[in-house]
């Protein structure tokens, strides 16, 4: 029941944010907000695997780009397909790849799993780069409609709304996991996988759930991207930014709680956007990198951890 209340509160907040954006009426605010929301989804998705079970996934871009490129394909095949359907399909595909990755890398622990995910990103990028149908290395144009369906106004508002809804879904899921037996099982795997096995925790199944969910949510976050950028090529779809930010934001916010990636995404995403406008468009990765190093040294539990320590 508490989960339902939490979801309703999230929905309320999301609606309020959207209403505020409409009232404000600046398309720049929507474009910027979309990026922050996208990182909330991406960071939370990464955290379900990386934070809760302790399996560090460096292959964020693989899942993200699978979502994005599935939209490119769908857009070419069935241009009239509504975006929410594309998001579900993109997320489903990435989830399946996540499940497959989990299955293939079951025996890999710690850093070896991370290396395998890094390799996955390279493999997927190579495949996409050589796939002519989606534009190959040249990239593909995906023209977005001028007007948003259902809600009217600019199309970016519709993209923003979709991302907002995804945030609600992803955050409600993450919090539900934290407070369930599943979350305890994940924590057991993170602490000592061998001991978890000995205690009768079905480690294999839990890891598959984590890799599947995490990959699926990353794919969902990537699905609207072609409509957002309108031109997608492998270099931008597989950009290092996505991977660095999706890892840095939960680490900075705190990996132990659903709130961590949100705080991290708002803080780092907001700061990056501000610096992009005021200083340089290339400074954003630097910000994430420097902050990540600073937090790993000074506050390894992230911002959430700082508050939890004070409370105790």
């Amino acid at each position: 029941m508490r989960g339902v209340t939490f979801t309703l509160i999230l929905l309320g907040i999301a609606l309020a944010i959207f209403a505020l954006g409409r009232w404000f009426g600046s398309s720049y605010a929507f474009f910027m907000g979309y990026v922050v929301l996208q990182y909330i989804v991406l960071g939370t998705a990464w955290n379900i695997l990386g934070g809760y079970t302790g399996y560090v996934n460096f292959g964020v871009t693989a899942f993200f780009a699978i979502g994005a490129y599935s939209t490119v394909v769908l857009h070419k095949l069935i241009p009239a397909m509504p975006l929410p359907v594309m998001i579900v399909i993109g997320g489903g595909l990435a989830g399946l790849v996540g499940l497959g990755t989990g299955y293939l890398t079951l025996r890999l622990r710690g850093v070896f799993f991370s290396i395998a995910t890094l390799a996955l990103a390279v493999v997927v990028q190579t495949l996409i780069t050589n796939w002519d149908f989606v534009g190959g290395a040249r990239g593909a144009y995906v023209l977005r409609p001028r007007v948003a369906p259902l809600i009217g106004g600019e199309y970016v508002q519709y993209l923003f709304l979709m991302m907002l809804i995804m945030c609600v879904i992803v955050l409600a899921t993450a919090r539900a996991i934290e407070r369930s037996a599943l979350g305890y099982g994940f924590a057991a795997i993170r602490d000592d996988e061998g001991a978890a096995e000995a205690s009768g925790v079905p480690t294999l199944r839990l890891k598959l759930i984590a890799t599947g969910l995490s990959g699926g949510f990353m794919g969902m976050a990537g699905a609207p991207l072609p409509y957002y950028v309108t031109y997608l090529d492998p270099a931008s779809g597989f950009s290092l930014n996505y991977a660095v930010n999706a890892i840095a934001m939960p680490l900075i916010g705190g990996t132990s709680s659903w709130a961590g990636p949100v705080i991290g995404a708002v803080l780092v995403g907001g700061l990056q956007e501000y610096l992009r406008v005021t200083i340089s468009s290339a400074v954003n990765v630097l910000v994430a990198g420097v902050l990540m190093v600073a937090f790993v040294i000074a506050a390894p539990q992230g911002i959430v951890g700082l508050f939890q320590r004070k409370r105790k």
């Binding site: 924590a187 602490d191 000592d192 061998g194 000995a198």
Partner: protein, 243 residues
């Protein structure tokens, strides 16, 4: 109804490395059986084979739980735990960054154990009053003796009928070793368990064991039908007592 365990002629190892060769052993209903051997003789591998963490290449492992016989080879670890076999791994292997209570709750992760989780938790905290005091503390911050108690309690949370304990004395001071061994005896009687305990500490182990096996280089070298028989054995003198 008590439960028993019968291992028949198993071979097991890791890849090309053969560790166990033709090992047979049984734990009768309500017995405490000691598995004695120094480092590197295959005690832990035998424990892991029973728990489904290492798959034997031949032989059989049968458990009779409350009158029903089950073949364990081919089952996953969680299924084996679910049948009613608890395992205390070597070196305790707690979840150091989780609290004592969380560690205990994780011992009852399987659906079957989850339905009785509150009763089992009360039982455990009653048996180990020290853990009750430390319920909110992180497991990794406790002393070795307390951690061993928690490891035992966690295994009991799955309400096992057969308990496997791998080297409970590792890293403990002599006084704590003898306390831990006493506790195992108390638990065995209180919970009506059958116990298989791998141990290097010969003198402590045979205090509570009904019978014992000596394992040398992956083979059962001696089977002692009683604690006295073990005490008077030549092999034991040679390996443990240095005489």
């Amino acid at each position: 109804m008590a439960s028993s365990l019968t291992i028949g002629h198993i071979d097991a190892g890791y890849g090309a490395v053969h560790v166990l060769e033709d090992v047979s052993l049984n734990v009768g209903a309500g017995e405490t059986v000691a598995l004695l051997g120094t480092n590197g003789n295959g005690k832990s591998t035998l424990m892991k084979s029973i728990m489904g963490m290492v798959r034997p290449s031949k032989g059989s492992i049968k458990a009779v739980i409350d009158g029903k016989e089950h073949e364990l080879i081919g089952r996953s670890t969680e299924e084996i735990v679910d049948l009613g076999i608890g395992f205390v791994p070597e070196g305790r292997r707690l979840f150091p960054k989780l609290t004592v209570t969380e560690n205990l709750l994780l011992g009852a992760f399987r659906p079957k154990a989850r339905s009785e989780i509150n009763r089992n938790l009360d039982f455990c905290l009653e048996t180990f009053p020290r853990l009750k005091e430390r319920a909110g503390q992180l497991a990794g911050s406790m002393s070795g003796g307390e951690q061993q108690m928690l490891a035992l309690a966690r295994a009991l949370m799955s309400a096992p009928r057969i308990l496997l304990i791998d080297e409970p004395s590792v890293g403990l001071a002599p006084l704590l070793v003898s306390r831990t061994i006493d506790k195992i005896k108390e638990l065995k009687e209180g919970y009506n368990l059958s116990v298989l305990m791998a141990e290097q500490n010969f003198t402590q182990a045979i205090r509570i064991a009904d019978r014992g096996y000596v394992i040398v280089h992956g083979k059962i070298a001696f089977e002692g039908a009683s604690a006295e028989a073990l005490n008077n054995n030549e092999l034991i003198r040679e390996f443990y007592l240095g005489a």
